[in-house]
């Protein structure tokens, strides 16, 4: 029996992704998980009307926190798809919160991230999601993504957690629970909100039970746009909290800080 599993393992080979040492493959980030990019400036108003969540603000800017990647704008061919360009936009959007951020804030973020450089424990809290984000976070533990190789572990108690991963559109029943969970975590701590629902409410932003985006209730450090984001994109967000950015990502981050 034991012999079988050893041989089986050798036959399977290494499945784990090369990320973060190498760029993720297109298979790991499928087309509907990268945002559409605008090119045809004349038609952006039509795209704006089509957008169900109001993510298209003007001809140059798509608010990725609101985008649910439904592809209505690109299906109507007002936007075009280019994998490389779109991915860059997604990376820049990671630090979109604290819109009037300055260098002090960024320095504070950096020092906090330095403390977690080796390892941390994450706790996932679901505040009203559709279960897709939950499964994507759970998928991080499978051999394809293998969270533990990066020193990241799941925990079940807020008292042991360093990073709080929030998924879902915040509703009334979970608001106090979220606050209590956040308060019972020891300092220093990070909060990552995952998916359009947690960042802006997504499609559920007008429902009766929706309270507010997560960053209005507890201070959020990193956002990971997507509906749902792929495990690689979630991993990117987690690595930001570890100050172990991928090559090239760092400069993008600073740039987006400086611009806004």
């Amino acid at each position: 029996m034991v012999k079988f599993w050893v041989l089986h393992g050798i036959k399977n080979g290494i499945l784990t992704t090369k990320y973060p040492k190498k760029e993720p493959t297109p298979e790991e980030i499928p087309l509907k998980s990268v945002p559409p990019t605008s090119v045809q400036e004349s038609n952006w108003t039509v795209g704006k009307e089509l957008c169900p969540t109001g993510a298209i603000e003007n001809e140059a800017n798509i608010d990725l926190g609101k985008c649910i990647y439904c592809r209505r704008c690109s299906d109507a061919s007002f936007f075009f798809e280019d994998g490389t360009k779109s991915r860059k936009t997604a990376l820049q959007a990671k630090i979109l919160q604290n819109k009037d951020a300055n260098k002090d804030l960024y320095a504070a973020f950096k020092t906090k991230a330095k403390t977690f450089q080796k390892s941390f424990h994450i706790l996932m809290i679901d505040v009203g999601s559709c279960n897709a984000c939950n499964i994507e976070v759970l998928n991080l533990a499978n051999p394809y993504y293998d969270l533990t190789r990066l020193g990241i572990f799941f925990t079940n108690s807020p008292k042991h957690a360093d990073v709080l991963v929030v998924v879902g559109a915040l509703n009334k029943a979970m608001t106090n629970v979220l606050k209590q969970t956040y308060e019972s975590m020891p300092e220093p701590k990070f909060v990552i909100s995952i998916g359009a629902c947690a960042i802006s409410g997504g499609v559920f932003k007008d429902t009766e039970s929706f309270v507010s985006p997560v960053q209005d209730v507890i201070p959020t450090d990193v956002i990971v746009p997507g509906c749902p984001p792929t495990p690689i994109q979630i991993l990117e967000g987690l690595l930001l909290c570890m100050d172990r950015c991928v090559k090239g990502q760092e400069t993008d981050m600073i740039k987006s800080k400086g611009e806004t």
């Binding site: 499928p30 394809y144 879902g168 429902t207």
Partner: protein, 445 residues
Amino acid sequence: MIPNFVIQKQVAEINTNVQISSIFEIDGRTLALLSDIENRKTILSDIPLRLGEESEIFLKDVQPGHQIDLDMGGKVEGYGIFAFPYGPVSSGVPESGGFKLITYGERIVKIIPQINFKKRGIERKVIGMQPNDALLLIERSAGNFSASYSTCFVTAVETILNLEVPSRSKWIRAIAIELERIYNHLHVFGRLSEAATQNVSAAETHVLKERVLRINAKYFGHRYLFGFNRVGGVSHNLLSKEERRSLLNEIKEITNKFSNLVTYFLSSRIFLDRLQNTARLSNQDALKMGAVGPSARASAIEWDDRLTYPIEPYNDVFVDLKTDEEGDTMARTMVRIHEIQSSVFLLEQLLDKMPVDGHAPSKLDVSSERYDEQASFSFCRIESPSGDLIHAVQIDKTGRIKLLHMRPSSLVNWLPLAKSLEGNVFTDFQFAYESYGLSYADSDR
């Protein structure tokens, strides 16, 4: 086109083999949707029914907008009895939802699921929306059942609007549903292995699940099959023969691997000990409480919407149905393992016999001309991965949604879970919970 149901005037008394599936309130009229298990028929009744005590509790829960409290009554008090809350931030269960556990020593005396932490109010929100806009919300009510949800809703709307949908689109929808079933069943098996700390089994199964998700992304554009469905057609056509053949080959490779490995996984005595005899649900209880899906089939209820309420492609293909009489966690697991195989067999037929006619319309204007006042209401039943999913839709003159009632599969399976856990030890909770394949998002939409 004739609406796909008949309103039966008289159901004098519900006999034991009729299951109450759902209750709709339409224009002040109360309709009950019943499943005649013996004759494999769906009955829509509009007269008040005589119901037993459990049925009444169940009916109260399936009403839209009702505050869900699954306490079945009866106080439990005494020396040595402990009640402790579990959740909403809890270990083991990845979603936010709670349980009130009442235990005596190690044994569970009673368990009260609390599933009102995730309310989003989708059914109220979609009122007055265009069907295609509402679809965005509906497929996000339960992310891992999104293909079933969107197909169910879209089919009901198409019946009302009298739309002629290319049959190819319907076949593609069925392919998506079967892919969804495969990855959900693999997910359940992986979670069960995790609960038993069978790490090799869990890792291998999750690898296979991830590969199915990647196949979804490759052929349907999205890992969780969002956004491929729309009223009047689908956005992905699976055009070329090579594309279809490679899809089948990839999925066959995955499932063959799983069926080879599963014999090794289940040869572990420790694993089997946790599954066998855990959370046994008797046939009578399953009938009375309205259990659906693999959990019902594991308790010898022969009901599968693909056979008993077939929408288009399922009439032309062979569905292999498996039931089990044991009703324990092992039986539910075996039914799921068998269903993975039968889904692959279905996919083989679907991809092979797929009709060539008609491309899905890229743009659809849902005009109110086709609207028929008489048939403004329709419903649809789809066998989602964890059971029978019902959508009842009513559309007004302008083509907007007037009423939507969703009866998800998970919602009705909470009571059977609670019932079957009585008398089990507390550590078996995880196995029972995972084997039912329940989702809080599915229940509290």
